[in-house]
């Protein structure tokens, strides 16, 4: 589903964020991406959502080479990837409903479809009763769940999360992780970047570890021949 081949990324100024990274996340797989701050987790996620382009190597999603995606096509690629951010990235001047509806409005869904899908997504994260609220009226955990609802509302095949539990206490963090598990169970590929090792240990999923831009425990290439 998501395949990196010898990917390196050097930022302008010479900082080497990633060096020859290889891995492959299978369709429907859930995996953790871990490492210290500055190990290259965010860069790796940015390469998948084409927020950055690799300096060398190839990134493939569902067998498509992302280097062949033109600037005009990038928005359509991002519609296939649900992204969740540590600081939620909600629009403060819009209601929870409007925030979650955003991806659907962009794709031109009808109002009726938008309503039913947003309600489904909000129900899933347990915030259906707060759809008329504004983000500032919610707690951090609730805001994160709104971010998740927005990421899954158009049922993308891939979910990326960058430190989704960064600001949450362990109990809330586990709740969020259970949500990701639920989405994974219906076939969504999920990649979660986190440095919360305790949380990872509690859940039995593959862990990709980055250290200074290099992939340490890489068992992804073992299943190289079976990608879609």
């Amino acid at each position: 589903m998501i395949r990196f081949e010898q990917v390196s990324k050097t930022y302008r100024g010479g900082h080497q964020a990633l060096q020859k990274v290889n891995f492959h996340i299978q369709p429907g797989e859930m995996a953790f991406l871990t490492g210290h701050s500055g190990a290259g987790k965010s860069t790796l996620l940015k390469l998948i959502s084409i927020l950055e382009r690799p300096s060398a190597g190839g990134v493939f999603i569902n067998g498509h080479d992302l280097s062949k995606v033109t600037a005009k096509q990038i928005p359509y690629v991002r519609r296939d990837i649900g992204m969740i951010f540590q600081n939620h990235r909600l629009l403060k001047e819009h209601t929870i409903f409007d925030n979650v509806a955003l991806p659907l409005v962009i794709e031109g869904y009808s109002l009726k479809q938008i309503r039913s899908r947003v309600e489904t997504a909000l129900d899933k994260v347990g915030l259906l009763d707060k759809q008329r609220y504004y983000p500032m009226m919610l707690s951090g955990g609730e805001q994160q769940r709104v971010g998740i609802a927005r990421a899954v509302v158009n049922t993308p095949p891939i979910l990326l999360a960058d430190e989704p539990t960064g600001n949450l206490d362990p109990k809330l963090s586990l709740d969020i992780m259970r949500l990701f598990e639920d989405f994974n169970k219906v076939g969504t590929s999920v990649l979660i970047a986190t440095h919360d090792l305790g949380l990872i240990a509690r859940m039995k999923y593959r862990t990709l570890t980055l250290k200074k831009g290099r992939m340490l425990s890489n068992d992804a290439l073992a299943s190289e021949d079976s990608f879609a």
Binding site: S49, R79, R89, I106, E107, G108, P157
Partner: protein
């Protein structure tokens, strides 16, 4: 439309198969919704928007006012054109019988409205009274002034061309020494009006350019203040044209409001001025009244201002939106 997942078939995808007609309706509705939500954005941030609209209003009022001035001046000019007079200086040595016959003959010409004879004696008296050379004239043996026949042409022969044709035909007469069409000053007025019009068009271009720049700058600031929102939109897969649209609509609204303000200003000015204008025209015993913008001119004004607003935002939006790139942090 999914590039990476050609067979992305979830429930939404199957529902999304819409007919062309449904898509078209959806597009129109979405545009109307965005047009209205752009109005909401203006409303949410009223002070800078109001200032921008006020500046636009002033910038648009100036050329529109000049248009009104020229329009009314043309009406006045037409009014004066009808007052064109031909002065015929008659030959010396006509007997009074010949003189009366000639006056009668001219008066019967179908192109002539009325005639007035100023005899050489009348002219001399008038000259003595008005010029202050009365004493000097007494030293002259003979009256040097000719008999003059003032001819006022019919209304449809009063314009510059027709009047000069009439003058030519009257000059053919034996009794006429030469004729003079008192229309030079009208030509000068025409030339001045033309100059005013030219000056107006160049000034109009400048003011229109300022409207484009003002809208562009306001939109640029509003894009910068909504940078975060634009980043989020880009992150969730909005195309650039989707992000452009509300700003383009905002430009359109600015144009509409600015144009409306300009129109209202002109109406107020016309109302304010019409009192004093009426006083002047009543002194001149004329029935001229100041006219403002006609409905079609108002429509043109609004169309122009909306086009300028759209242009201003279009020029800025394309570049600014491209510059904002999201960052996953």
């Amino acid at each position: 439309m999914s590039i990476l997942f050609g067979n992305r078939n979830n429930t939404g995808a199957s529902q999304r198969k819409l007919s062309l007609w449904q898509k078209l309706i959806g597009l129109v509705l979405a545009n109307i919704r965005q047009w209205l939500s752009a109005l909401g954005e203006i409303w949410r941030d009223p002070i800078p928007s109001a200032l921008t609209i006020a500046v636009l209003g002033v910038s648009l009022t100036l050329p529109a006012t000049m248009h009104v001035v020229v329009k009314n001046a043309q009406v006045v000019e037409q009014h004066w054109q009808n007052a064109a007079e031909i002065s015929l200086f008659l030959n010396d040595g006509l007997s009074s019988k010949q003189l009366t016959a000639f006056v009668k003959q001219v008066e019967l010409n179908s192109k002539v409205e009325s005639v007035e004879l100023i005899t050489k004696n009348q002219a001399l008296t008038e000259f003595e009274n008005l010029s202050g050379f009365g004493d000097a004239i007494k030293y002259l043996d003979v009256n040097p002034l000719p008999n003059v026949l003032i001819v006022r042409p019919q209304t449809d022969h009063a314009n510059a061309r027709a009047a000069s044709l009439l003058l030519e035909s009257l000059e053919q007469s034996r009794e006429v020494n030469f004729g003079k069409l008192d229309i030079e000053w009208l030509r000068r007025l025409n030339a001045i009006l033309d100059m005013v019009k030219d000056a107006m068009s160049s000034l109009t271009i400048l003011l229109f350019a300022s409207v484009v720049l003002i809208v562009g700058n306001t939109i640029r600031l509003s894009i910068l203040s909504r940078k975060e929102e634009i980043e989020v939109l880009k992150l969730v897969g909005a195309t650039n044209s989707f992000i452009h649209r509300p700003f383009l609509f905002t430009g359109l609204w600015y144009g509409l409001f600015g144009g409306t303000l300009a129109w209202l200003t002109i109406e107020v000015m016309v109302y304010y001025l019409s009192g004093s204008i009426n006083q002047i025209t009543s002194l001149y015993q004329s029935n001229f009244s100041l006219t403002g913008l006609s409905p079609s001119e108002m429509l043109v004004l609004l169309l122009i201002s909306m086009t300028l607003g759209l242009l201003g935002s279009y020029l800025v939006v394309r570049k600014q939106i491209k510059l904002i790139e999201p960052d996953a942090n």
